[in-house]
């Protein structure tokens, strides 16, 4: 099940606002992790870098392919989860928890409003649109 408090992109990143810090936490969905298969490499940005909405902020590689990670928000990367790069199994084991990838100080407080809700995302991955995207 997809946690209800997350928002999603069509490219399968999730995002949520961390209450304590007000930072946007970003990761990839369980579905994406499953589709990728054996993950062999994760490349993340450095803290302090800026990211732009829908621009690549990193790369995740499986045996067969490298895919880019697209930022669901514009802002400054404040924290990077090195644990993911060190323990790649985290991505499939705990995609919505321990496998968060970056925390971003978003430029816009309503940055996540344009993203899909958990329910919408669940419908999306089952839909033909996902296949067609």
């Amino acid at each position: 099940m997809v946690p209800k408090d997350l928002r999603f992109t069509k490219t399968h990143e999730w995002a949520k606002v961390e209450e304590t810090s007000n930072l946007v936490v970003v990761g990839i969905s369980d579905f994406a992790a499953g589709q990728l298969g054996d993950i062999v490499y994760v490349e993340l940005p450095e803290a302090g870098q800026t990211v732009a909405l829908e621009d690549a902020f990193g790369v995740i590689e499986s045996v067969k392919a490298a895919v880019e990670l697209y930022s669901p928000v514009s802002g400054e990367v404040v924290e990077v989860n090195q644990a993911v790069a060190d323990d790649l199994d985290l991505v499939s084991k705990d995609p919505y928890g321990g496998a968060w990838m970056i925390k971003v100080r978003a430029d816009d407080s309503g940055a996540l409003d344009g993203l899909m809700t958990a329910a919408d995302y669940e419908a999306y991955v089952k839909s033909a649109e996902c296949e067609q995207e």
Binding site: K10, T11, H12, A32, Q35, L36, G37, D38, V40, Y41, E43, V59, E61, S62, V63, K64, A65, A66, V67, E68, V125, C130, E131, Q132, E133
Partner: protein, 486 residues
């Protein structure tokens, strides 16, 4: 935008190995196959993918199905590419290769025609033998690479890449008018397309022999037990043709030919006997680790769209016969020049690089990156020296000591590749590979995998420099002698 992300819907993949720009245009931006497929378009690619007779088995096993070469094929089963690769190396893996094209050649003109369109010496094949071979074009590039089997005296069976099936037939058809003495039988000539009536399974790995032997009622496994030998056996009442061939680098390897209607029962028997089903994903990592060329990557066109000379792939040397007995064939002149250039290159003489500017070399990535097909490669002096033709991260068993029986409990991962590199580069030369705009260190190695002395495989020495033989990869050497001396 109609792009099916085979791995992840909606993700833009950065791998360059799936489709060419031409294919993207033709298919409306669709990134079709995750597996390296061919750079050339086949009419099949525009059609509904076909299903092998084992399709339902793959689905029932939970395979992730993808389109490859015009077929709906398992990319991986739930265990995943890494586990499938490791299972093949430690025990035995089972592959459905029914998607490959199978053509039977019969009749008095068959051998002569095969000698004309294929680069190896088909006349050397005794009944019960097989050989790696190539259909070359006159300029010395590959139309396709293939395997030729002679199970009985009357018939030659040619197995070709799935995506090239139609192209190969068209090529043979085009060549036919130049060839005297062929009585048209079917498809305008001496060949019959057996692809649909016959299924093909591949069983690879150290336990494959004992597993297969345990299922045989009568008949035998190929004797002598070496690569490229063939036999016929009855497996639980089903007549099966058995070949000691494969595409994994495993010294012990079999490919089984059975009537299509019996394939599912054969598959079930093998799965029940404990072999691991393996999809196209691990088929690719296994062959890459074994330094075996894949059409569309190491054969065919390079990333600039130029034809890769056949002999740029050292493993292809065993598929080319320049002996007088073989005589003339399509591409002989160009291949002869490539061969002369290769001999010189091996001895440090680079005066004929025009005939063979680049050679496919195994490369190990030393930096923190995974090289992918299409990535540019630079020499130690910063010069652009070629391209990665295949690259990924592959798993391996950590083996303690001398014996392959010991250990095999721990595993690791390593980024490796094959690269089409300036002929002046060789083993030990430092490289850097441009991966997403950054340079990662790499080095030319002699091979990625070594056959551990199992009978039946002998590395082919190129013999250009007597004291410096370079073995072919991992027991996949199709022949035991230098090809120019045959």
């Amino acid at each position: 935008m109609p792009a099916v992300g085979i791995f992840v819907c909606g993700r833009r993949r950065r791998s360059y190995n799936a489709v060419t720009s031409a294919e993207r245009t033709l298919t409306g931006g669709r990134r079709a196959a995750i597996l390296p497929c061919n750079r050339r378009i086949t009419d099949r690619s525009m059609m509904e993918p076909r299903k092998t007779v084992l399709h339902d088995r793959h689905v029932a096993l939970g395979a992730r199905m993808v389109e490859f070469g015009g077929w709906r094929m398992p990319l991986q089963y739930p265990s995943g590419i890494v586990q499938e690769h490791l299972a093949t190396r430690r025990s035995a893996g089972l592959f459905d290769v029914s998607h490959m094209g199978r053509f039977a050649f019969r009749g008095p003109g068959a051998l002569g025609f095969l000698q004309h369109v294929l680069t190896n010496d088909a006349a050397r094949l005794a009944v019960g033998e097989a050989q790696y071979t190539i259909a070359a074009h006159a300029e010395g590039g590959a139309v396709d690479d293939a395997y030729l089997y002679r199970f009985d005296a009357e018939e030659y069976l040619l197995v070709v890449n799935a995506a090239n099936r139609r192209k190969d037939l068209d090529h043979f058809q085009a060549v036919l008018p130049d060839f005297a003495g062929v009585e048209p039988v079917q498809y305008g000539s001496v060949w019959t397309d057996r692809s649909d009536e016959q299924a093909m399974l591949s069983l690879q790995g150290p336990l494959s022999g004992q597993i297969l032997a345990g299922l045989i009622d009568s008949g035998r496994l190929p004797e002598p037990p070496q690569r490229n030998r063939l036999s016929t056996a009855t497996i639980r009442g089903r007549r099966v043709r058995v070949a000691r061939t494969g595409y994994t680098g495993e010294p012990l390897c079999f490919e089984l030919f059975a009537p299509a209607e019996e394939a599912a029962a054969l598959w079930d028997l093998l799965v029940e006997a404990g072999v691991s089903p393996v999809g196209l994903g691990a088929r690719d990592t296994l062959r890459l680790e074994a330094n075996l060329p894949l059409y569309g990557h190491e054969l065919g066109a390079d990333p600039d769209g130029r034809d890769i000379p056949v002999l740029a792939s050292p493993s292809a040397a065993g598929a080319v016969s320049l002996s007088p007995r073989k005589g003339d064939f399509i591409g002989r002149g160009a291949l002869g020049r490539q061969h002369e250039a290769f001999k010189k290159i091996a001895c440090g003489d680079f005066s004929s690089l025009d005939d063979l500017p680049r050679i496919v070399r195994p490369v190990a990535v030393t930096g923190k990156a995974i090289a992918r097909a299409g990535d540019r490669v630079f020499g130690a002096d910063g010069r652009h020296v070629g391209y990665v033709t295949s690259g990924t991260m592959v798993p391996y068993w950590k083996i303690e000591g001398e014996s392959t029986d010991a250990g095999r409990n721990e595993t690791g991962m390593r980024p490796i590749g094959l690269a089409l590199l300036d002929g002046r580069l060789g083993e030990g030369d430092d490289l850097s590979i441009e991966v997403r705009g950054r340079r990662a260190g790499a080095v030319v190695v002699s091979r990625h995998l070594r056959s551990e002395g199992t009978r039946g495989t002998r590395p082919v020495g190129h013999g250009f420099c007597a004291d410096e033989e370079t073995p072919l990869s991992a027991g996949e050497s199709p022949h035991t002698g230098p090809y120019w001396a045959r």
